[in-house]
């Protein structure tokens, strides 16, 4: 039976304090006071939907082999590239390329659930394990409610037919062009219609019939649902929909608004991961996503869920947090503030695509080499072994290093180099297995970065070539464990 085999999530470390946002903007938008509580996740300057999806996928694959994945779906409304497969970047970062069907899914707040349905169907039909990753990093206008309500984050689900932790009981979708909000291709921001209309003519008329159809297909009643997942920027709406469909109020899952925010196309899956983390065998989970129609999926949790090896998941990543009260930093990280970057930020960031292709396993996969003659692990892989007592030629096998922990040998906090988040931390990191390189650090503070500190590799944005329309360069950085 097809279902979910493993889950993972990712939440950026920074948590923007909503009060700080309100304090900066209340002169203009005093009406936002009601939203000025709690915190929302805030991507670091070097994170986007691709990097967050890579992290969630790694979290998900804690217990499974990446090379077994046969299809990869990436759902987002903020995919960094319009033409260049975003899912393909994720696949390369996970070192899965061969025998892989990769697909980008977008265009709606139900992109995450639509991708999950596609992944489940792909697996069901003998397609092998399917990885579904969803991430969003939506921008919002200054002093808007979206700015306070949105959060950045990602989820990943591995679909398969063996050792499923939650079986798919059934699913139902409707598609209709109800435009509650939209984001045209000439803007970064959403434009939304009146909330009361969305509630009364949209949610109330479109969602209940779809839920009822799904329940009927699954031969279930509303009361059978243990966990009801339905993202919405209007917190009362999921409860209303549940009530209409006979689903117990206590089954309606928390929207994670207080400390995460709404993660867009990813949010239904983020909430699903959150539910799976505590779900018991036999629990029935309904996932509803609304966006120009509705996707409804129903799962039944199996006994395997309790046996799933530990991973960070939503709760683990939420627990890793740093409060951010600097609203200006949030604006600057999102390129919404024409900040003086100085001439050092001007250097050309053109990428030689031919080099990137030749070295993609090194750059996107952090694959180094291991010498067959002396056993030395090294990065990058080179034709002549780096060991001064070896120097064997053409002796190295590829050696994956992204999953290895490293130690800080030396480091600095550099105030001279241009960084969107100065000072720039970087240093020589060494891998106990062998190998070292001078790496940029990220998510780092003075208190954490020390000689000997343990670091974890993370896939991040290195540069953005804005001269050529926004070609993002990705590479691996070291972050404190």
């Amino acid at each position: 039976m097809v279902g979910i085999v493993a889950y993972g999530a990712y939440v950026p470390r920074l948590r923007l304090q909503r009060q700080a946002v309100y304090d900066a903007n209340k002169w203009f938008a005093a009406g936002l006071r009601g939203l000025a509580k709690g915190e929302r996740s805030m991507a670091n300057w070097d994170e986007d939907s691709i990097t967050m999806a890579v992290e969630a996928s790694r979290d998900c694959l804690t217990s499974h082999k990446a090379e077994d994945v046969r299809s990869l779906y990436f759902a987002s409304t903020t995919q960094p590239f319009k033409d260049r497969q975003n899912a393909g970047v994720i696949g390369t970062a996970l070192s899965i390329e061969q025998n892989l069907l990769a697909s980008d899914v977008g265009g709606s707040m139900k992109a995450g659930t639509s991708a999950l349905i596609a992944g489940l169907n792909a697996s069901k039909n003998g397609g092998g394990p399917a990885l579904v990753a969803a991430a969003d990093k939506r921008l919002a206008r200054v002093a808007s409610s979206n700015e306070l309500n949105y959060g950045d984050g990602a989820a990943a689900l591995l679909c398969g037919t063996e050792n499923t932790i939650a079986n798919l009981v059934g699913h139902h979708s409707v598609s209709m062009d109800f435009v509650d909000h939209f984001r045209g291709d000439e803007t970064d921001f959403d434009y939304g219609w009146e909330e009361r209309w969305i509630r009364d003519e949209g949610y109330s008329k479109i969602v209940p019939p779809a839920i009822k159809a799904a329940l009927a297909a699954c031969k279930l009643k509303g009361a059978d649902i243990t966990h009801f997942i339905m993202p919405s920027l209007m917190p009362a709406v999921p409860k209303q929909m549940a009530k209409i469909c006979g689903i117990a109020d206590g089954s309606v899952r928390d929207l994670l608004g207080a400390n995460l925010g709404d993660t867009g196309a990813a949010h239904a899956l983020v909430m699903l991961v959150d539910a799976l983390e505590g779900a018991k065998a036999g629990d029935k989970i309904m996932v509803v996503a609304f966006g120009q129609g509705v996707d409804v999926l129903v799962f039944e949790v199996t006994a395997e869920n309790a046996k799933l090896p530990k991973r960070k998941g939503v709760s683990g990543w939420l627990a890793r947090r740093k409060e951010e009260k600097n609203y200006m930093k949030f604006l600057a990280f999102n390129e919404m503030l024409p900040i003086e970057k100085g001439m050092r930020a001007e250097f050309d960031k053109k990428t030689a695509l031919s080099v990137l292709w030749r070295k993609r396993d090194m750059i996107y996969g952090l694959v180094g080499g291991k010498c067959k003659v002396c056993g030395t692990v090294q990065f990058p892989r080179s034709q002549v072994c780096v060991n001064p007592n070896c120097h064997a030629i053409d002796s190295q096998d590829p050696y994956a290093m992204a999953g290895l922990e490293a130690n800080v040998m030396s480091f600095t906090a550099d105030s001279l180099t241009y960084s969107p988040d100065p000072p720039a931390y970087y240093g020589m990191i060494t891998f106990p297995e062998g190998g070292r390189f001078m790496a940029d650090f990220t998510d780092s503070d003075k208190e954490q970065v020390k000689v000997g500190a343990k670091m974890r590799m993370t896939f991040r944005i290195r540069d953005n070539d804005t001269m050529r329309g926004g070609f993002k360069r990705y590479f691996w950085k070291a972050a404190p464990v």
Binding site: G342, M343, R344, F347, D348, K349, T351, A352, V355, L356, K359, M362, I363, T376, Q378, F379, P380, S382, V386, N387, P388, M409, S410, F411, T412, A413, D414, S415, L416, T417, Y418, S419, P423, A424, Y426, G427, M428, T430, G434, G435, R436, F437, M438, A439, D440, V451, R462, R473, F475
Partner: protein, 399 residues
């Protein structure tokens, strides 16, 4: 070990422009400023030059490529001009080329001239963002201060030196260079600085503060070399000859193999050992009279004095604090102010160091003249602690 070139080459003349923020001059004017002094000092005619070596490190922001800029600016008589670049060792590389030409007999008179015009970039510090298309995809977003700051971190770790002790020692390195630079009319910075000012300066790349970093200067320096025999035949006295020229280049082991702990310059240890051997120096701590080393950062000088086998490994900071390298110490280091105060026009720096040695041996160093120096050593380090070129030159009286 090869036979070496000890005493086969003599410095016939040298010149050095005023270093500094030379808003009045381009690279061409600076080149000519050093060349005029050098040619007059050598006492020969330009037509007698057989070959020239021209050094720059960041020529993309001033003269561009090839030997043509030197040949055109000086209107050289269509002789071979070789443009050399080896980061901060470029000046010494030009000198090495010229010396080897003379030592081989291929040239009787060879010119080495180095220049750097960096103050046309619009900002302070060295231009960033260099490197090939692969490097741009993965190497850390670092600067020179950030790379050398890590030498300090690793040195403290390796030798269990407290942050406070190290800060004081590297502060003393810069204090001493400012004392010396104040006596050098050609220096970029000619002002003595209080220790408190140094220790409390803003951080550039921790633990290196503003005074731990040398600035960026415009300037040029030049040498004309010949054989000692020809120099004598031209009536020269106090002849200064070349005792050794060595260069060691990283092969990636420091940056890629876990055997290096980051606290020393692997290359400098090798280059200096070979140089002492070429020069026949058995005990450098007692035989060398003065040093001009690559103090791009205060900590670089401190560690370099260990890697040149003068201070004991891990103890250099104590020698520094004891005043061993001060102008009135046992072996003065950076008597001309060093990169820190004389300045660091990269392509010219190696030749600038030799210029000071040359003046000292000839008793022409003015207010900073040392008493009876016999042997002097210069050192350049290009790149970063983990990957670099290290050049050393030993010069001295021709006896």
């Amino acid at each position: 070990m090869a036979r070496g070139i000890k005493d086969k080459v003599a410095i016939l003349g040298m010149g050095c422009s005023k270093f500094g923020e030379r808003w009045d001059s381009g690279a061409e004017e600076l080149m000519l400023e050093s060349y005029k002094e050098c040619l007059a000092d050598a006492g020969i005619d330009a037509k007698q030059l057989n070959a020239a070596w021209f050094s720059t490190a960041i020529d993309e922001v001033h003269v561009g490529k090839s030997g043509i800029p030197l040949s055109t600016t000086l209107r050289l008589p269509n002789i071979p001009v070789t443009h050399v670049e080896n980061m901060c060792a470029s000046g010494t590389e030009a000198f090495r080329g010229a010396c080897y030409a003379v030592a081989s007999g291929a040239a009787d008179f060879a010119l080495a001239l180095g220049v750097e015009k960096l103050k046309d970039t619009g900002y302070g510090g060295l231009p960033g963002g260099r490197g090939g298309p692969l490097q741009a995809l993965w190497s850390a977003n670092g600067t020179a201060p950030g790379n050398f700051a890590q030498l300090a971190t690793a040195y403290m770790t390796a030798h269990n030196v407290s942050a406070d002790d190290l800060k004081k020692a590297i502060g003393h390195v810069s204090w001493k260079s400012h004392q010396n630079g104040a006596k050098n009319p050609k220096a970029h910075l000619q002002k003595a600085v209080e220790m408190d000012t140094i220790l409390n300066a803003p951080m550039i790349a921790s633990p290196l503060g503003l005074f731990d970093c040398c600035g960026v200067s415009d300037g040029a320096a030049a040498a004309i070399v010949t054989t000692p025999e020809i120099a004598k035949s031209l009536g020269k006295h106090n002849i200064v000859s070349v005792k050794a020229l060595q260069l060691s280049v990283s092969n990636g082991s420091e940056s890629g193999h876990n055997s290096w702990d980051g606290s020393y310059f692997h290359t400098t240890r090798i280059a200096s050992k070979k140089a002492y051997e070429e020069a026949g120096i058995k005990n450098p701590r007692s035989e060398v009279s003065m040093f001009e080393v690559h103090d791009c950062f205060s900590v670089t000088e401190l560690v370099t004095m260990e890697d040149l086998h003068i201070s004991e490994t891990g103890k250099g900071w104590k020698d520094v604090l004891d005043g061993f390298y001060d102008a009135d110490g046992k072996i003065p280091c950076q008597i001309d102010g060093g990169l820190k105060c004389f300045g660091h026009p990269i392509g010219a720096s190696g030749l600038r160091m030799l210029y000071e040695m040359y003046l000292q041996f000839q008793g022409r160093a003015g207010a900073r003249q040392l008493k009876d120096p016999r042997i002097g050593m210069t050192h350049n380090l290009g790149g970063a602690p983990r990957e670099n070129v290290s050049s050393v030159a030993i010069v001295g009286r021709f006896e």
